[in-house]
């Protein structure tokens, strides 16, 4: 894992080798679990960072929109950093002595492979849609939170197609089942990329969540920590007030089922490249994101509920 090249974009197979390397090097801390398979049968692997049984946990996922390659790259580096910081960094050590962390580096593996082999701008899953020539569901419009409401499309050809029903996308269903069956997930962070935002619920409606003040404070503190490294500026707020109304999103669902600390990062893209962030920016992006993630995880650790 120490010699893996985190500073370039990788194929899915290479990313999976990166996961295996981390597991191999940090056997006592990190295990790999398969929580299901994608539409085309690819495994959904989570890295589990754990130092004891029956702990509450924090969930982090990346790459639900396949073309946002910086997110998968960032998540892999974050996994390596978490593993190497345990036992060295007092805060991470204390966190992992109390909480498990689950890290899903490639949430949409079919889309990721397709974005490498056929269409660099592919965002959705690769599920066929009955009665349509168009493929795929936007997996971040498919969660059971205001499903079918504004900010999602009913057209299978749209890049924000919500799917025929909530959790119809097997990738979403697998994660939702895992979260439900775990029962002790206390923080949920989804990593996306576009124009530097740190978002919290709601997106399917434009009212503030009950914990608005706390979430806003945590979000601002995380954005400040992130910014301290390279000065990258983030906007912080609810999905609806900060960018646009979007129904069926993951963090709205997790918040509504009781996971108070639900956030979504939109990592940097410099405003010029969209999803084509140059590889030279992978490590800076990962490093600054780690600082923001750490702030959120520390808050989850220190504020049990």
């Amino acid at each position: 894992s120490a010699t893996f090249n985190y500073a370039t974009y990788h194929t899915l197979d290479n990313l999976f080798k990166g996961l295996d390397a981390i597991v191999l090097d940090f056997k006592s801390l990190v295990t790999k679990q398969q929580i299901g398979t994608s539409t085309e049968g690819r495994p959904l692997y989570v890295l589990k960072f754990s130092t004891g049984a029956s702990r509450p946990a924090i969930w982090i996922d990346a790459g639900i929109h396949s073309r946002e390659w910086i997110t998968q790259a960032t998540a892999l580096w974050v996994g390596y950093k978490l593993a190497t910081d345990y036992g060295k960094d007092a805060s991470i050590t204390s966190l992992l002595n109390k909480f498990d962390v689950y890290l899903l580096v490639v949430t949409n593996p079919d889309g990721y492979v397709y974005s490498h082999t056929a269409d660099r701008m592919w965002r959705k899953t690769r599920a066929p849609n009955s009665g349509s020539r168009c493929i795929g569901v936007d997996p971040n419009r498919n969660w059971n939170a205001g499903f079918g409401g504004p900010g999602a499309s009913s057209d299978p050809c749209s890049d924000s197609y919500r799917g025929p029903s909530a959790e119809s996308a097997v990738e979403v269903k697998n994660i939702a089942n895992f979260i439900r069956s775990h029962g002790k997930i206390k923080g949920f962070v989804s990593i996306h990329s576009y124009s530097q935002l740190l978002l919290f619920p709601y997106g399917y409606k434009c009212t503030n969540p009950a914990h608005y003040t706390e979430l806003n404070t945590v979000g601002r503190s995380a954005a400040a920590a992130l910014s301290s490294l390279y000065g990258t500026q983030y906007k912080v707020g609810t999905i609806c007030s900060t960018i646009y109304q979007a129904s069926g999103g993951s963090i709205d669902w997790t918040y509504d089922i009781g996971i108070k600390y639900s956030f979504a990062f939109e990592l940097r893209d410099t405003g010029r490249y969209g999803f084509l962030l140059p590889a030279t920016q992978i490590l800076p992006t990962a490093q600054e994101t780690y600082l923001g993630l750490k702030k959120i995880m520390e808050h989850v650790r220190d504020n049990p509920y």
Binding site: H10, A118, R120, D155, I243, Y244, R272, Y273
Partner: protein, 97 residues
């Protein structure tokens, strides 16, 4: 492999709610095959949209007719993708060496 030769990414800045509505209407014109990277929601956030070559003239005319300000964020998407691909291949070869 799908290519994006001649596709541009436009950054559009609406200045009032009427222009947001015009952009939302543009989003509904599916024959243009536009890919909205950020969607029209409010005047505070710019709208980024990938426009295939065959729709460039129509989209730009639409924006100009409605006095909506825009700039070209990516002039030729395929060039950026090619350079990303080359970078990835070079970095992977370097690593193997």
């Amino acid at each position: 492999v799908k290519t994006f030769v001649g596709h541009q990414v436009l950054r559009i800045k609406a200045s009032n709610d009427d222009q947001i509505k015009e952009l939302q209407a543009l989003e509904g014109l599916t024959h243009l095959e536009l890919d909205f990277w950020t969607e029209p929601a409010n005047i505070d956030n710019p709208v980024d949209v990938r426009v295939p070559f065959h729709s460039l003239q129509s989209v730009k005319s639409y924006l100009e007719f409605n006095n909506i300000e825009y700039s070209i964020m990516i002039n030729d998407l395929q060039t950026v993708i090619d350079s990303e691909k080359q970078e990835m291949e070079t970095d992977n070869i370097k690593e193997r060496n």
